[in-house]
């Protein structure tokens, strides 16, 4: 059939302008112009001119029958999807063409041509390979390449047989590495022994399924071996909280909301793919955690999300980077682009977007949360039954993400970065969006017995888990493919995104299919649940998998991990307190311009925070909607004022001083942030996300004690963890050295409140009001503080927030005052200390504040010998986690509430728009909020260009 090409261009091409600026910032300064043409390739006897309305809007685009590029101006590269792969736009083009009456269009593809002006072919090619396409599915099309057909074609590899019989330990390890299994020897030997028992060699699919099921990523071998996996769920069981509906068993945790609804939470990291290909990695991080919500119970609906990134310092010089890593500035900016690309089309409000840095994040932290909403009657799955159908829905299966699970669990090094780029998945949010709409409809119609998302390990993992208690038989020929060259094991293991697996009662199948057709969601029955207790699959007439479920799920050996208590080294802070106003200015600018404290809204405003119309308080608030609130308050039931508040605590600086104390601090910080806003900690649940170095004896000790510490704390506080995730492969190998991530625990708190309109936010409300600091002060505990870090120091010991009884007393006092509306603004102290909060509250209100540091009684520090007296800088910048700043109108009756709680009146709100710091009668420092805004706004804005 004839093939036509239509070249289109924009009269004013913002995308081209954007890329040009981006590449120039990335050091391609000779590039002085970039042009883009989009080429529609059409196969069939079509009248091209009839299709033009689909391809251009003549107001700002034009179409041509040949390229408008003059080859003399610079190298031209055309990026197209691989011949075996379907373009994501193809269905839209075909549907549009049919609508326009051109039924003879057999197939269509869309490629992009870039012309680079000012640089040579080799540099252009490097740029394209690095930024413009994904080699797994796309390629550079040769300029004179003949096209015979656009329709995807190709031949898959045949099924291979793998025998481990007689292989030595060394040979097993070699094989495991060559085939990207990254399995420990103990597992390989169990698999080897099992081959003997069952009396026949494996197919490639069988071994692939075993090693990925047993990978740390899927099987949590490190946590299981240390006896940690059940620790938090046991603590939650012990608490026996009446609001907990589902914890740790399902794809997310669920908490009772109001009026027969349940809210859910899940956090998921995607560190390895985001480190090697940040755009694809971060996009699919969101896609994956959103599917965890859709896969909760019989299908929850996502109503909020987060993006949390930990990278090396984006200002790191190229020469100082560990070899093989991407530049952290690139990781951050690509992650922002990816989050906008994925989450905005999903129509899910961004609750929190946090960016943190630490030199240990050579393998970056890429975490996302998803919060969901589901009727209580659908919050628990039913067990699948024999005869239920295994319905795959969503996108087609492709070559992307193969070996994602095993590669994620492997040590990351320059070598794996190069070898495992295929492990990064490709995200198409519109596909996920379609089933996000359809799943609640299927659920309400009773079509879902059970549902799970397909992520790591793909179909094999989803079917294997769902059919673990019964058995499942799959027919791989029924799986819709977007790449015709996939062989059986690749179909089973592909981590192609935007797919869900359902167990559908047979009598509901016709109804389910009709619903999916109406909502235009792809679907296929790919198997049936059985009673064989086996995972079975056929492909092209061959039996390619026949594994016993109990071997798959119970035979994985756990290597013992030795434990040794690490030596702690505390480096005392060596910073002289500021003496002059100039020195105070330097200290203040160091804190508010610090990467963790500065204005991150240049990233955050690229994400939709108000979609779904449930948002009551978003991440940015105050008078100009720019003040970080450190809160997200949703009103999930539209028209009702019941609220779900989420807060986040994440601090990579504390972990390197004392991981166990850090873990406790994160819990207390997340809870206190919510309590300050008016949330009752008795109606609150927690979600944990660990990211730790590979388990050596000292790491194992720290990790075990972190988990023990928060399990105990949750029991003492009565606040249960309901979901969480561990990643124990935070080590990067380069140049003969290991770089460990800082001990990372991100805690998110989620609580329900009866009326969102009563949320107390941070910005000051009126001049003349008094500012109280409620909770202990310890001006010498500057360990891990932003202040110390801004002086390039770790800063000595961490702040101790007090025991559980005193914390409870403090929270109870706050809640008692909140109930009577006593305080009008509040903020929990964390990174950047009280000063950052005072600045933010001033900025958010247009008011100012005058602080007096004299006469403050330290709760901890005074009792410590040899540390000297109060540090004034320590009062302002000390991170008294668990302490809260509140604003009281004059004459507010707070005395009895605060009688048993340490508290200080530290200042007064003013109408001046200035911050004044006094010590008794002496003015230490004074400055305009407007000047500070400039310092605070700069770092992120400059980084993003």
């Amino acid at each position: 059939m004839p093939i036509h090409a239509i070249y289109t261009k924009y009269m004013d091409d913002a995308e081209a302008r954007n890329w040009l600026a981006f590449f120039r910032r990335r050091g391609h300064s000779a590039l002085h112009d970039l042009k883009i043409e989009r080429v529609f390739w059409l196969e069939g006897d079509v009248r091209v001119e009839k299709l033009l309305p689909l391809f251009i809007n003549p107001v700002h685009q034009s179409a041509h029958s040949r390229s408008m590029f003059d080859p003399a101006c610079g190298p031209i590269l055309e990026i197209a999807y691989r011949p075996a792969v379907t373009d994501p736009e193809t269905p839209s083009i075909l549907a549009g063409a049919r609508a326009l009456g051109e039924n003879s269009l057999a197939f269509a593809r869309l490629s992009r041509r870039f012309q680079f002006v000012g640089i040579g072919q080799a540099e252009a090619q490097r740029i394209a390979e690095r930024f413009l396409f994904n080699k797994v599915v796309e390629r550079l099309r040769g300029p004179d390449e003949a096209l015979h057909s656009l329709i995807p074609s190709g031949t898959p590899d045949p099924v291979a047989t793998i025998s481990l019989k007689g292989l030595s330990d060394g040979e097993l390890i070699q094989l495991s590495r060559r085939l990207s299994w990254y399995a420990p020897l103990s597992q390989l030997k169990v698999i080897q022994a099992h081959e003997f028992e069952r009396g026949r060699p494996y197919t490639d699919a069988e071994v692939e399924i075993l090693v990925q099921t047993w990978s740390d990523h899927c099987y949590h071998t490190t946590w299981k071996s240390l006896g940690l996996l059940k620790r938090l769920s046991q603590a939650t069981a012990q608490i026996n909280h009446p609001l907990v509906v589902s914890s740790f068993k399902d794809n997310a945790g669920g908490m009772k909301f109001y009026e027969d609804w349940v809210i859910t939470i899940k956090g998921e990291t995607h560190n390895f793919p985001s480190s090697i290909a940040p755009f694809g990695g971060v996009a699919t991080k969101h896609g994956g955690v959103i599917r965890d919500t859709l896969g909760f119970g019989k299908g929850a609906y996502p109503i909020g999300g987060t993006t949390i990134m930990g990278t090396m310092d984006p200002c790191t010089k190229d020469s100082a980077l560990p070899s093989g890593t991407l530049h952290p500035e690139l990781i951050v900016s690509e992650s922002i682009r990816a989050t906008a690309y994925y989450v905005n089309p999903m129509g899910i409000p961004m609750m929190h977007a946090l960016y943190r840095r630490h030199p240990g994040y050579a393998k970056c932290l890429a975490l996302g949360h998803s919060v969901g909403l589901i009727p209580e009657k659908f919050a628990l799955k039913d067990p699948v039954r024999k005869g239920d159908l295994c319905l795959l829905l969503g996108g087609e299966t492709g070559r992307d993400g193969i070996h994602g699970a095993t590669a994620s669990s492997a040590g990351m090094s320059g070598e794996t970065v190069a070898k495992e780029s295929a492990a990064v998945q490709i995200g198409h949010p519109v596909t996920e969006r379609r089933f996000a709409t359809a799943i609640p409809v299927l659920r309400d119609a009773g079509c879902i017995r059970s549902i799970t998302d397909l992520g790591a390990g793909g179909i094999s993992c989803g079917a294997g888990e769902m059919g673990a208690e019964t058995g499942v038989a799959l027919d791989l020929d029924q799986v819709p493919l977007k790449d015709q060259t996939l062989t059986a094991w690749e179909i089973l293991l592909s981590e192609s995104q935007e797919r869900m697996m359902l167990a559908v009662p047979p009598e509901k199948l016709a109804e389910a299919k009709a619903i999916l057709d109406r909502y235009e969601v792809g679907h296929a029955v790919i198997g049936e649940f059985t009673d064989t207790n086996r995972l079975q699959a056929i492909w092209r007439g061959q039996k390619v998998v026949d594994l016993e479920m109990h071997f798959l799920w119970d035979a994985c050996p756990l290597d013992p991990i030795p434990i040794r208590e690490p030596q702690r080294r505390e480096t005392a802070l060596e910073v002289e307190p500021p003496q002059t106003p100039d020195e105070w200015s330097r200290a203040i600018h160091g804190v508010i311009g610090h990467y963790h404290c500065c204005d991150q809204s240049p990233a955050g405003t690229r994400f939709d925070t108000t979609v779904q119309a449930r948002t009551a308080v978003s991440a940015y608030g105050g008078r100009t909607h720019r003040m970080p609130t450190h809160l997200y308050v949703s009103a999930p039931l539209r028209g009702r004022n019941y609220g779900a508040i989420t807060t986040i605590a994440f601090n990579p600086l504390y972990g390197e001083i004392d991981p166990v104390a850090m873990a406790r601090l994160m819990v207390i910080e997340a809870v206190t942030k919510a309590v300050a806003a008016g949330a009752d900690y008795r109606e609150m649940v927690l979600c944990d996300n660990f990211y730790t170095p590979r388990a050596r004896p000292e790491v194992a000790w720290n990790l075990s004690h972190m988990v023990e510490a928060i399990a105990d704390l949750s029991i003492e506080l009565g606040i249960p963890f309901i979901s969480g995730k561990d990643s124990s492969s935070g080590t990067y190998e380069a140049d003969g050295k290991s770089i460990d991530v800082p001990y990372t625990l991100v805690v998110s708190a989620m609580c329900r409140v009866p009326d969102v309109r009563r949320t107390v936010t941070k910005e000051f409300k009126a001049a003349g009001n008094q500012i109280f600091l409620v909770g202990p002060i310890d001006s010498r505990a500057l360990g891990g503080s932003i202040y110390a870090d801004s002086c390039s120091q770790s800063g000595g010991r961490l702040f101790m927030p007090g025991d559980v009884r005193s914390l409870r007393r403090r929270w109870d006092a706050l809640l008692a005052m909140y109930a009577r509306g006593i305080y009008v603004s509040a903020s929990a102290i964390a990174e950047g200390g009280a000063f950052l909060r005072l600045f933010e509250a001033s900025f958010g209100s247009g008011l100012g504040v005058e602080i007096n540091l004299s006469g403050l009684v330290e709760t901890e520090g005074d009792e410590r010998s040899g540390e000297g007296g109060t540090r004034l800088d320590g009062i302002l910048f000390g991170e008294f986690v668990g302490s809260v700043l509140i604003e009281l109108p004059p004459g507010a009756a707070a005395a009895s509430d605060l009688a048993e709680v340490p508290h200080h009146q530290i200042g007064e709100v003013t109408s001046t728009g200035a911050l004044t710091i006094r010590n008794d009668h002496q003015t230490l420092w004074q400055g305009a909020v407007a000047d500070l805004i400039e310092v605070w706004s700069k770092p992120f804005k400059e980084m993003l260009g």
Binding site: A99, R337, N344, P345, D608, T610, A613, G639
Partner: protein, 246 residues
């Protein structure tokens, strides 16, 4: 179908249909989410409804251009229904992606399906902008903005492509600007971020010559519920419900 029901149209990728429908209900209206799929296969007809809203989202993944595929299907497959809907003077509102659909379809500003004369281009900042904006309502009022002229509405805006450009539109009696981005003083906002996309003349919303069709980049449905930071958006839906007769 009972009288005075508003259709909220859903196409794959639409993501604001639920809250838009809920806001119309809160305003006292009757509403039904209608799948484009069902209109295309004839199960439902546009003219069964007295008003229609094309809500926000990324219909068809913004493939080939924001709103393009939706607009093509609307014009090529439902042209008669659409024309009849317009000819009978029924209210039609496009919000965000819905505005993009109406402009790609040629319905706005010139009521000429199949012949687009405006486009909503990528924001000047070249990326998605999530902002809480102020809108000033211009006179003369339309059915959508009745009683609101001179007022400032606080409504969120969230889009990547909202910079309006036009081809040959200077007739004084023709289509016109219905809402503008405003600065703190209430004047048309030329600067970022009060004007989040760089639209000339601070254009946030356009109406056709009849005032029955409105395209609006910001999202009134997100400032409609008591829990939201503003309920100014509800005024627009109340006007629709009033016009339809309660």
């Amino acid at each position: 179908m009972s009288p005075a029901t508003t259709a909220v149209l859903y196409a794959p990728g639409t993501n604001c249909h639920e809250e838009t429908a809920a806001a119309i209900e809160l305003a006292g209206g009757r509403v039904e989410v209608v799948l484009l799929h069902d209109l295309l296969d004839g199960t439902q007809r546009l003219n069964e409804f007295q008003a229609a809203v094309i809500p926000g989202g990324f219909s068809f993944g913004d493939h080939l251009g924001a709103g393009r595929v939706f607009a093509t299907l609307l014009v090529a497959r439902l042209c008669e229904q659409l024309q009849e809907f317009l000819d009978t003077g029924k209210p039609l509102l496009g919000i965000c992606n819905g505005f993009q659909v109406l402009s790609e379809a040629g319905v706005l500003p010139g009521r000429s399906p199949g012949r687009p004369s405006m486009a909503l281009l990528e924001n000047e900042s070249a990326h998605f902008e999530d902002r809480k904006v102020r809108l000033s309502v211009t006179a003369p009022e339309t059915l959508w903005t009745r009683g609101l002229s001179g007022q400032i509405l606080e409504i969120p805006s969230a889009h990547g492509e909202g910079r309006a450009v036009f081809q040959g539109m200077d007739s004084p009696n023709g289509p016109r600007v219905a809402l503008r981005y405003a600065d703190a003083a209430g004047n048309p906002a030329s600067g970022f971020p009060d004007n989040p996309n760089g639209s000339k003349d601070a254009i946030a919303g356009m109406t056709d010559e009849t005032g029955r069709v409105l395209g609006l980049m910001p999202h009134p449905e997100r400032a409609s519920f008591p829990a939201n930071y503003s309920q100014d958006g509800l005024k627009i839906f109340k006007n629709l419900v009033d016009w339809l007769g309660g």
